[in-house]
């Protein structure tokens, strides 16, 4: 997808102010808000796109200033991409990402999950889908132990209520816990 070059600079009339949960105000160009269903609907319903309407600051109680800063960075980069409402966009299922996206999302998992929640809250589909794919790519192909490390999860082995013995794994075909016997040459199909 190619981006057009910006042709206009923001003016006070085409801005709105959003306030993060920690009270910081951000001046947002209306063009940027088109990527977010939540903000686009709000602007349309309160007619904030009209110059003669008084625009009150919009409180975003679920989003911190750090997350807002990060989201604005995304919105600015995708400023000339299609609006959120174009449902016919088929988001990629690939695990290959643009260099810019890789650098943008080169953040710790907890921050990424918070950003994902913020993208979900503001309904920014392209950002939401991209983070979901990045997070899935960090899980794919890893063993259970590696996933625990990536997601910072401690195992919570359950014991059988009657015997007190740890319940055995019910799936044997997942690759975790396999022996290290190597096969050579490649096994013939059945």
């Amino acid at each position: 997808m190619s981006c057009e070059e910006p042709t206009t600079s923001p003016t006070p009339e085409n801005n709105i102010t959003v306030v993060s949960s920690d009270g910081k105000e951000f001046l947002l160009d209306l063009k940027l808000t088109e990527q977010s269903e939540t903000l686009a609907r709000l602007i349309s319903n309160f007619e904030y796109d009209r110059t003669d309407v008084k625009k009150d600051p919009v409180p975003l109680g679920n989003i911190t200033s750090a997350q807002m800063q990060k989201i604005i960075e995304w919105l600015q980069h995708h400023r000339y991409y299609p609006k959120w409402e174009q449902n016919d966009i088929h988001y990629s299922t690939s695990f290959t990402f643009e260099t810019w996206v890789e650098e943008y999302l080169n953040i710790p998992n907890n921050e990424m999950f918070e950003l994902l929640n913020a993208a979900n809250y503001l309904n920014i589909p392209r950002l939401f889908s991209t983070i979901c794919r990045i997070m899935a790519s960090r899980i794919t192909g890893k063993s259970a132990e590696q996933i625990r490390t990536v997601l910072n999860i401690k195992t919570d082995v359950k014991n059988d209520v009657y015997t007190g013995i740890p319940i055995q794994e019910d799936s044997s075909s997942s690759e975790d816990g396999m022996s290290e016997i190597s096969l050579s040459p490649s096994p013939p199909p059945i």
Binding site: R41, K142, A144, L183
Partner: protein, 391 residues
Amino acid sequence: MLSVEDVVLVKEKFFTSPAMTSFAIRFQQFMDRSQLESVFGKPFCGRDIDGLRWFFLAPRSCQKVLKLTIRYLGYITFCRIIAENVPERAVIRDVTARILENLDFFSILTLRKVCWSLREFLDETKIKPNCEVMLKLNDKGAYMEFRTPRIQKFVRFEKYDNGCLLIWSVRKMRLFKDESFIEKFLKDYRIFSSYMGSLNSFIFATYNDTKIDNLLPEYASFHAKEVTFDQCSLLQIFQFLSFFDSKKLDKIKVLDYPQHQDGKLSKLCELEQWNNCKYVEFAGEDFIPHIQDFVGFKEVKIQCLEISTQKILMLKEQFLKSSTLTRFEIQCTDDYFDINQIREIFGPEDEWFFGNDKEVVHFVITELDFIVFNRLRLDEVPEGAVINEIK
């Protein structure tokens, strides 16, 4: 009596009314959960609450949320809350499910081993992995192959003395001494089918001495779009086909149908799996088909030893009468059908059209000597073609 439509109506009214802050309804008969889910989506239903909860964002605000609670004791309540009061877990569950939708089946199996809460979450939400699955089974083992745009993996469950040898595509293996391969396979297949719903392709390859009774217990049940029987006898096909969910099965393929088998498939016609299926392919070197066994399908492809002119005439009549058949293709080994006799009956060409004002049946002997019947719309008939009118 309260319907799901009534609940939807109250929800809509709630959003448009500036005055309403809460609304409670008591009812006698509990509503169908699947119907509620089809309208409102998956509920947020932690084990700590005595009912189902949904949260809806008000259209004119990103702060106001409508909470709908349906309690098992027979109360429905609507109330307005602010976004900060939506339980974080309700959002997290939805978001987590969206991440996991990007994973293949093997990664989901591995995730089930990470921790119990994740396993419970996965089993509850039934994430549908994005992959195609092919399964092969015979009396020596089972083979499952998973294909996604990114990954192609397989796992094999092989018979090994009294145990089972598991082999993965990453060239690793593990021996289970006291469990048969079929027990191991069925255990995993059950987890698999609870996630996947149905297989893309199931191949059952066997030899004449394979006994299905030894291979599959009574409770085995398969959901597949397509099943292939490779070298299976009529009895084996009959026995094995009955393990399939007839509602999911779209196509049956019989390859290399053994020699000296009965050409009459009336036994298969007793099965709803055979009768409900739309597509069939049947190939056997000395197979002589009975047209009546195939007229219930939409598309039929047969590779056989021979077909008599009488049967071709019968097929034409059946095709004209049928409301289901759209294509019927026959290929005879050694081109064993009488083309001259056919030309004597239908005319000197190699293709003929039969029809009325609405539709036409096209009968052609192709350059490769395939006998093909096709249903055409009038506008699909080539210009100048002579349509033999049927009464």
